[in-house]
C-alpha cells in the first residue's frame, strides 16, 4: 500500500446525478449507492437535478505539503482538507521539504503522520538525489520499500546528465518511476517569468521555454536509451509537448502533467506584477497554452497536476522578483478548468474529469478510481453551474497564494468521497 490516511468509519450514501466515468463508458443520469464505503449499485434512471455530476474523485500527482519544515504554510491536516474540498481522493506529496525526503527515516516519519492526520489518502515521493543537490543518488530501493511512490527532485532539475542516466537505470531496481522537473538551469538564472514580449516590456528576467524543452528532450533521449518509463512534471511549452508526443509515438512509456494555471492563463497575467502569478515553470504564451490544451485533449498530457505550492503571505507580499515561485491550486483546480476550458468549449467535461483522475492514477501506479459495483467509493459530486468568488479567507489550505484571488469561477465541489468516506460536504 502506498497511500496513507487516518482510519475512520466507511460511509453509506445514495447520490442521484449525471454519472460521468469515461473509463466505464458511462455518461448518464442515474443513482449510485454506496454501502460501508463500497459501491453496491450503479443504476441509470430518472433525470437528476440540473448541473449535478458524479465522477470518479480526483488524483493529484503533484502537491507540496510543506511538511516537514514549513508547517506554517501547510500541514498534512490542512493540505488534505484542501484536497478534500477540491474533490480529491488521493494526492501525492513532493519531497522538497526541510529536511528533504531523501532517507527512509524521514519518509517513515511522514508516513506515520499521514496515518494519524491525513483526511485524504496521501502518497509520498522521495528525492532522486541526496538533499536534492544533484550529486549522489538516494537509496531508492530502501525508500521504495518505505513507501516512496516515485522519485523526483521537483523544484530543481537534475542538471547532470550522468546522474539522470544513473537515476533512470537504477529506478529499475526500485521499481518506481522518476518524475522530472525539466529546466536547464544555466538558461534560467535570474529568470522570473516567460521570456517573450511581456518580459521584454516589463524588464523581468526571462525563463525561456527552450530551457524546459532542452531538458525534456534530454530526458526523453536518456529514458529511451535506458528503456525506462518517465513521468514529466508541469509541462508549459508547445515544443516540450511536441517532444513528448513524438517520444510516445516512438514507443516510450512517458506520462506528462499540465497544471490548471498553465492550461488557463498566459504571461499576459504577469503585467499585474502580482507575485501570485509567479510560478516555476512560468506562465507562457497563448500559443503554448493552446498546445497544452490540445495535448490534454489528445492525451499527450494525461494528468492535470495542481503543483499546489503554498507560500506564507508575507513571503509573497513583496516585489515580484523577490517572491518565491508557486501558487496554490487544490481547492480551485476543477472550477478553473470548468470555467476556462469546459465552458469555453476548449475541452470536453469528460476529458477534464479523466485527466484529473484516471490519468494521474495510472501515471503513478495508483488504483484508478472507478464508479463500478464492488469498487471502493472514490467519488466527487460537482455542481457545474455553481458560481463562487475565490476569497483569501475561504481556503482550507493554510496559504492563500492563489492566482485566482478575486475571480468568479463556475463549478463547485459539492461532496467528496475518498476511500469510502465522505471527506467533504459543502
Amino acid at each position: 500500500m502506498s497511500l496513507f490516511c487516518r482510519n475512520g468509519r466507511r460511509d453509506s450514501l445514495t447520490v442521484r446525478a449525471r454519472i460521468v466515468d469515461a473509463g466505464e463508458g458511462l455518461d448518464a443520469q442515474g443513482t449510485v449507492t454506496v454501502e460501508d464505503g463500497i459501491v453496491t449499485a450503479v443504476e441509470t434512471g430518472p433525470a437528476a437535478p440540473t448541473g449535478l455530476v458524479l465522477a470518479p474523485a480526483f488524483v493529484d500527482p503533484h502537491v507540496h505539503l510543506r511538511t516537514p519544515g514549513r508547517e506554517d504554510e501547510e500541514t498534512i491536516v490542512s493540505g488534505t482538507e484542501a484536497a478534500a474540498a477540491g474533490g480529491y481522493c488521493a494526492i501525492v506529496a513532493m519531497p522538497n521539504t526541510d529536511p528533504v525526503v531523501d532517507t527512509a527515516s524521514v519518509l517513515q516519519a511522514l508516513v506515520e503522520r499521514a496515518r494519524e492526520e491525513a483526511l485524504v489518502p496521501t502518497g509520498f515521493t522521495a528525492a532522486i538525489s541526496k538533499g536534492q543537490r544533484g550529486e549522489e543518488l538516494t537509496e531508492m530501493a530502501e525508500l521504495a520499500a518505505a513507501g516512496a511512490l516515485a522519485f523526483t527532485d521537483d523544484g530543481k532539475p537534475v542538471a547532470s546528465a550522468q546522474l539522470m542516466r544513473r537515476a533512470l537505470a537504477y529506478s529499475a531496481v526500485a521499481q518506481r518511476p522518476l518524475a522530472l522537473h525539466c529546466e536547464e538551469p544555466t538558461l534560467t538564472r535570474d529568470g522570473h517569468m516567460h521570456e517573450g514580449a511581456v518580459s521584454a516590456e516589463l524588464g523581468l528576467g526571462g525563463w525561456p521555454s527552450v530551457a524546459e524543452t532542452l531538458m525534456v528532450e534530454r530526458d526523453l533521449a536518456l529514458a529511451t536509451y535506458e528503456a525506462r518509463p518517465l513521468h514529466l512534471q508541469h509541462l508549459s511549452a508547445r515544443a516540450s509537448v511536441d517532444a513528448v508526443r513524438r517520444a510516445r509515438l516512438a514507443g516510450l512509456a512517458v506520462s506528462a502533467e499540465a497544471s490548471p494555471h498553465h492550461l488557463c492563463a498566459t504571461d499576459e497575467a504577469v503585467r499585474s506584477l502580482d507575485p501570485n502569478v509567479k510560478m516555476n515553470p512560468p506562465l507562457r504564451t497563448e500559443d503554448d497554452r493552446r498546445a497544452l490544451v490540445e495535448a490534454l485533449v489528445d492525451g499527450t498530457i494525461d494528468c492535470v497536476a495542481t503543483d499546489h505550492a503554498p507560500h506564507a503571505r508575507h513571503e509573497k507580499d513583496v516585489p515580484f522578483e523577490e517572491a518565491p515561485f508557486g501558487v496554490t491550486g487544490l481547492e480551485t483546480a476543477f472550477a478553473a478548468l470548468n470555467t476556462y476550458l469546459v465552458r469555453e468549449g476548449e475541452v470536453p467535461l469528460a476529458t477534464v474529469l479523466e485527466r484529473m483522475s484516471a490519468g494521474p492514477a495510472r501515471a503513478l501506479g495508483l488504483p484508478v478510481p472507478r464508479i463500478a459495483v464492488g469498487e471502493p467509493a472514490n467519488l466527487v459530486l460537482l455542481d457545474l453551474d455553481a458560481e463562487w468568488v475565490v476569497r483569501e479567507d475561504a481556503f482550507r489550505s493554510r496559504s492563500a497564494n492563489s492566482w485566482l484571488l478575486g475571480r468568479t469561477l463556475v463549478g463547485a465541489v459539492v461532496k467528496t468521497v475518498a476511500d469510502g468516506r465522505v471527506v467533504y460536504a459543502a
Binding site: 521570456e195 514580449a197 521584454a200 524588464g203 523581468l204 525561456p208 507580499d317 513583496v318 516585489p319 515580484f320
Partner: protein, 317 residues
C-alpha cells in the same frame, strides 16, 4: 494619470498624451523661474515629500530633493543603508511606517520591478516611481521628452535611436513608451545579446545595426552596465569590442543630430568624450530639465485640478 482618487506616476502607462503635454507645459513655465534671484515658489508649502531610495543615486535623488524644495515642500530622505531596511523590514512595512507621517508624495527608487506599485498599494500618498529595477523610470522619460521638445521644437514625428544596453535599461523601456505616446519614432539599437527578445512588440523598431543611427534626429545613448560584463555573465565579449561596434563616436554622429545620455556616462565606452562634450550633446540640458520636470510632476500630482485637462494656470508671479 491613473483614475483612482490618489494619482500616482508609476510608469508611462499611467499617462495620456494630454497629461504629458500638460506636465511639459508646466515644466516650461517653471523653467522661467530658474533664472530669478529668488528661485523658491510657495506652491507646495506645508506638503511633505518623502524620498525612499533603496538604490544608490546621485542625480535623481538630488533632482527630486531640489524640486520639492524649490516648491517649498518639506522633504525627508530615507536610504536603505543604515535604515530599518537593513534590519530586514519588508518594503510593505516600511511604506506603512512612513504613512504615519502623512506624506503627500513618496518618491521610490528600488532595485526590484514593481516596488513603487507595491508602495502605492500601502500608502495614502501619491507615489512617484524614480526607477524600479529594469522596469520603469517615468520622470527620466518625461525630462527627455522635455529636452527634445525644447531642442527641436516638436515631438511629433521626431526619430530617436536608443543605443546600447537595452536589456538592463528601465530608461529605454520608459522612453520608448513615452515617445510612442507623443507620436515620436523610437528605434532600439543594440547588440543581439542586449536586445530583449520580443521588445519590438512594444511598437518600436529594433535593430542590431549601428548604421540605423545615421537616419535619426536624436541619438540617445544608454549607459553600458559594466557590472553586467563580469566573466560568466558577459553579454558581449568585451567592452573594447562593444565600443568598436556600438560606441557613439564623432564619425557616427551626423551634423544636425543631437545626442543625449541619461547619465552617469562611461566616457570612452558607450560614448566618445568628443561627442559628450560637443555642441550636439544635450547632457547638461537633461539635468536641468530633470529639475523642472520633477517640479512639474510634484505640482501636477498635488495641485493640478484633474485628469486630462489643459495646463493649469501656474502662479509664478
Amino acid at each position: 494619470m491613473s483614475t483612482e482618487a490618489r494619482r500616482h506616476l508609476l510608469g508611462i502607462a499611467d499617462l495620456s498624451r494630454v497629461d504629458v503635454e500638460r506636465m511639459l507645459d508646466t515644466a516650461r513655465a517653471l523653467e522661467r523661474t530658474l533664472d530669478r534671484e529668488m528661485k523658491k515658489l510657495p506652491a507646495l508649502r506645508g506638503r511633505l515629500v518623502v524620498n525612499l531610495f533603496y538604490e544608490s543615486s546621485t542625480r535623481t535623488l538630488a533632482s527630486f530633493e531640489l524640486a520639492a524644495k524649490r516648491l517649498s515642500a518639506d522633504t525627508m530622505t530615507l536610504r536603505s543603508s543604515g535604515s530599518s531596511v537593513d534590519k530586514g523590514e519588508s518594503l510593505r512595512d516600511t511604506a506603512l511606517t512612513l504613512g504615519a507621517y502623512d506624506p503627500d508624495v513618496v518618491v521610490v527608487r528600488h532595485p526590484q520591478i514593481g516596488a513603487a506599485k507595491l508602495v502605492a498599494s500601502s500608502t495614502d500618498a501619491h507615489v512617484v516611481n524614480a526607477g524600479d529595477g529594469k522596469h520603469q523610470h517615468p520622470t527620466q522619460a518625461l525630462l527627455d521628452l522635455f529636452t527634445i521638445r525644447e531642442a527641436l521644437g516638436r515631438l511629433d514625428g521626431v526619430s530617436v535611436a536608443i543605443v546600447g544596453d537595452v536589456l538592463h535599461s528601465r530608461v529605454a523601456r520608459s522612453l520608448v513608451e513615452a515617445l510612442l505616446l507623443v507620436g515620436a519614432e523610437p528605434v532600439l539599437v543594440a547588440p543581439p545579446t542586449l536586445l530583449p527578445r520580443g521588445i519590438e512588440e512594444m511598437g518600436c523598431a529594433a535593430t542590431t545595426a549601428i548604421d540605423a543611427i545615421a537616419d535619426v534626429d536624436v541619438v540617445y545613448v544608454l549607459r553600458m552596465q559594466s557590472e553586467r560584463m563580469q566573466p560568466g555573465a558577459a553579454f558581449v565579449p568585451s567592452l573594447r569590442e562593444y565600443t568598436a561596434l556600438y560606441g557613439v563616436t564623432p564619425e557616427r554622429v551626423r551634423p544636425g543630430q543631437v545626442v543625449m545620455h541619461p547619465g552617469p556616462m562611461n566616457r570612452g565606452i558607450e560614448i566618445d568624450p568628443r561627442v559628450a562634450d560637443s555642441g550636439a550633446s544635450l547632457v547638461t540640458t537633461q539635468v536641468r530639465s530633470g529639475l523642472v520636470v520633477r517640479m512639474a510632476v510634484l505640482y501636477d500630482l498635488l495641485i493640478a485640478p484633474g485628469l486630462h485637462v489643459a495646463a493649469p494656470a501656474l502662479e509664478v508671479a
